[in-house]
């Protein structure tokens, strides 16, 4: 049924619009949940859209020590977010771009973005940004095995190393969720928190430059480049969210209901992130590697279990 052309077009259209427009809702939702738990009213859910509109109208200020490299980070963040959004399936419909091995391509797209963000951070010559870069690279190197072992598990299970094959495979249903899936979900949720600089790994709200990890690398951006940074990080929340939710979305008999389920699950993920941030303190920096290693171990177990 899904091969019928008009429905394919509707899917493509929905996919494109979601990738372009929906992302800034997720941080808005997380912040709303945090505010409500803390007994505050909080900013509105659409706040990031307003912020972006404001920043686009603002002029950027560039430090005299920076060069054109400084702009690579913001540009790469958004570009990579969009390309990745075209590779990852939203729900159970295969993504617009898919090929064997795109999972690895997907993972290293974010590697490229991180590399360029680090370059632009180092371009400022600030000691904070250097520290933040060192932290970000250390932690992402530890998060990567968890991501890849998760990929390996799903690839073994579905017989495909394309994200569309792994996440949107027709034979997958909720009733077949097994121990390996639960382990992968656990591991990837930790990776999700780490990659998106959320508590307990990083604190997106802190104004204390010495404790920041990701935030400090973009401290010098302003105006439009900063709008790109903010939009790019919300894209990352969306794209990685679609990745970790993919294997667990229920499959219904109506294509539109699949979309509803996808958006519902995305909202639930945002609420979960908001609740985690509300009920626990951030880890001490030297404890973060232990958390990430726990994620690696969980996904390694998931992979081993498939051979049992």
């Amino acid at each position: 049924m899904e091969d019928i052309l008009p429905i394919r077009l509707v899917h493509l259209l929905l996919h494109g619009l979601t990738a372009l427009l929906v992302a800034p809702l997720i941080p808005g939702l997380i912040n709303k949940v945090k505010a409500l738990v803390a007994g505050r009213q909080g900013p509105r859910i659409l706040q990031l859209y307003y912020d972006l509109a404001k920043l686009i109208r603002k002029r950027a200020v560039f430090s005299r020590t920076t060069t054109w490299v400084f702009l690579l980070g913001p540009i790469a963040t958004v570009t990579v977010g969009w390309v990745a959004a075209l590779i990852v399936p939203f729900g159970h419909f295969p993504a617009p771009i898919r090929f064997e091995g795109d999972a690895i391509f997907f993972a290293y797209l974010f590697g490229v973005a991180r590399f360029l963000t680090v370059l632009s951070a180092l371009d400022t010559g600030s000691s904070f940004e250097g520290m933040g870069s060192a932290r970000e690279l250390t932690f992402s190197a530890l998060a990567e095995p968890a991501l890849f072992l998760g990929f390996a598990t799903l690839a073994k299970y579905s017989g495909s190393i394309s994200l569309s094959g792994m996440l949107a495979s027709p034979q997958f249903t909720l009733s077949r969720v097994m121990a390996p899936h639960i382990l992968v979900l656990t591991a990837w949720f930790i990776v999700y928190l780490a990659e998106n600089a959320r508590i307990p790994v990083d604190d997106p709200n802190t104004h204390l430059e010495l404790t920041m990890i990701h935030e400090v690398m973009v401290l010098d951006h302003s105006g439009r480049p900063f709008a790109l940074v903010l939009y790019g990080s919300s894209l990352k929340l969306l794209v990685l969210g679609a990745l970790i939710l993919g294997p667990f979305l229920p499959r219904t008999h109506y294509w539109w209901l699949d979309w509803v389920a996808f958006f519902g699950a995305l909202a639930a993920l945002a609420v979960a992130v908001g609740i985690v941030e509300s009920i626990m303190a951030r880890f001490r920096m030297n404890k973060v590697p232990q958390l990430l290693l726990a994620a690696v171990v969980a996904s390694a177990f998931a992979f081993t279990l498939l051979f049992a």
Binding site: V37, R40, P200, D203, L210, R284, M285, K287
Partner: protein, 504 residues
């Protein structure tokens, strides 16, 4: 025994300068070194423009202060700091204010980067230097990197400059350069008291308005020979404890915020406002400005108002308790607090740490108990102690002090509800000429010391203010050694020292 040559004095008691023996510098030094060795504390060391140097030693177990003075023949004396680290900042201050060189001081640098009060400072400068432009301690080696923070910070806080010598994430050494908030308060007080003097004292550190105002008032009352009616003393106690409650609540909330624990952080932000509003209900100012005045109170706390405040106090306490139970119940928070900011009690004693930070190291030091003033003589408070000198200990001491403040406040409001209002205080008589008065007040941060010296006409010849931050900033630098640089904001918040109180 020692102490023969220094003169004993009680907190808030005035004394003619003639009763002070003028020691020669060697005897003066020996007295200080010997007394500190015996466990006393150098609470103040300051000079006057005519090269007299005064020292105040606090004997915390004996409710006594020992005052000594010496007159220097030339602006130079052998430094006390190598044997008594408590003197290090006082000596740097004298070098900057009056060009008195403490020969042999291990790290002689300006404190506040202002122009000398005389013709030149100890470095021969006649113009005001730029704050923070100076040599900093550096650790050599390829693997060491330096991080410099401030004076402009990412948050809305006071300006201060911090230099970290780091090995990866580990801090080897932190050096703190302040002075950006210098307003010249001590100089402005010379020739006083004039109409603005109380204002100057109140704004020495705005978050400790009551503590500084009270210390100032007690000096004037001591020098004028006036006793304050007991009811007014009760109200001053209420003012001080409300200030303590508001700041401790705010600090615990801010510490929660620094580890990203949102519920307590948001609740305490609001509840701090509730405490401040109790002050505002009495005197019209959330910070307690214009509440006290020499001789008594500017705004009394009438019996009806006391009855009205009691339920509001109970409610504020109920909310505070709730928010903090969340904090102490979160293992992720305790884990962060427990792991960071160790300050060795031995070092804390050596550098003369005061206040919450000292009590968190297990040092029994609280001027409300050691040198009782106002209502604390008849209605004592218990000292709140913790042992381990970590962030958790400093938080815990605040928590225990909050409980104690609340108990005191409830008792005071009950008593005030039945006491008739005092008559308005009469204007103070003239101050005792050629005299000296020292007053200690335990503000929420620690011991606030004011030292007033009058000239032949009964005007201030010298007015010295020692905010607790002046003693404690160096404690923060020591607490950072070997810690993670990412924990600096948390450790800093657990001390929560005043920049303007240091810079004056």
């Amino acid at each position: 025994m020692s102490q023969r040559r220094f003169t004993p004095l009680r907190n808030g008691q005035a004394m003619p300068l003639a009763r002070l023996e003028e020691l020669d510098i060697d005897a003066f030094r020996d007295e200080i070194l010997q007394s500190v060795k015996e466990g006393q504390r150098l609470a103040c060391l300051c000079a006057t423009p005519d090269l007299r140097v005064f020292a105040v030693l606090a004997e915390d177990q004996g409710d006594r202060l020992w005052v000594g003075q010496t007159r220097l023949q030339e602006p130079c004396f052998p430094s006390i700091t190598p044997q008594c680290p408590q003197a290090h900042l006082f000596e740097r201050e004298m070098a900057e204010q009056f060009g008195i060189v403490p020969a042999g001081h291990p790290w002689l640098k300006p404190v506040r980067y202002h122009r000398s009060w005389g013709t030149r400072d100890a470095w021969g400068r006649t113009e005001a230097p730029v704050p923070g432009v100076t040599d900093f301690f550096q650790v050599g080696g390829d693997e060491v990197h330096e991080v410099s923070v401030g004076p402009v910070h990412a948050g809305v806080i006071e300006p201060g400059h911090f230099r970290f010598q780091c090995h990866g994430e580990t801090v080897f050494h932190l050096e703190i350069a302040l002075g950006y908030q210098h307003r010249g308060i001590e100089r402005a007080l010379i020739g006083g008291p004039h109409p603005l003097s109380l204002k100057h004292a109140e704004t020495a550190s705005g978050d400790s308005t009551i503590a500084h105002a009270w210390a100032y008032c007690r000096n004037l009352e001591g020098l004028a020979g006036v006793t304050v009616p007991p009811r007014s003393e009760w109200v001053r106690g209420v003012a001080l404890e409300l200030e303590r409650a508001a700041n401790h609540t705010g600090d615990l909330g801010a510490m929660a915020g620094d580890v990203g624990f949102l519920p307590t952080s948001s609740y305490c932000g609001r509840i701090r406002g509730d405490w401040l509003n109790l002050s505002a209900a009495v005197c019209g100012s959330r910070l307690g400005r214009d509440w006290l005045k020499p001789g008594g109170l500017r705004q009394d706390l009438e019996p009806e108002l006391a009855r009205e405040l009691s339920p509001r106090l109970a409610q504020a306490w109920y909310d505070t308790n709730d928010a903090l139970e969340l904090l102490w119940g979160a293992s992720s928070v305790l884990n962060r607090f427990e792991a960071a900011g160790l300050l060795d009690p031995e070092q804390a004693r050596d550098i003369g740490l005061v206040g919450v930070a000292a009590r968190a190291c297990g040092i029994r030091r609280d001027s409300r108990v050691d040198h009782p003033f106002g209502p604390y003589g008849e209605h004592p408070v218990t000292i709140s102690l913790a042992e381990r000198g970590r962030v958790l200990s400093r938080g815990w001491v605040r928590w225990k002090e909050l409980q104690e403040s609340r108990r005191f406040l409830a008792e005071a409001l009950d008593a005030l509800a039945d006491l008739p209002v005092d008559a308005k205080p009469a204007p103070l008589p003239a101050l005792m000429p050629d005299a000296l008065c020292i007053s200690l007040v335990e503000g929420w941060r620690g011991e606030v010391l004011h030292l007033a010296i009058t000239d032949g006409k009964g005007c201030f010849a010298r007015y010295k203010i020692v905010d607790p931050s002046f003693h404690n900033w160096f404690g923060l630098a020591l607490a950072l050694r070997g810690e993670q640089i990412s924990d600096f904001p948390l450790i800093n918040k657990s001390f929560n020292l005043s920049y303007c109180g240091h810079d004056l």
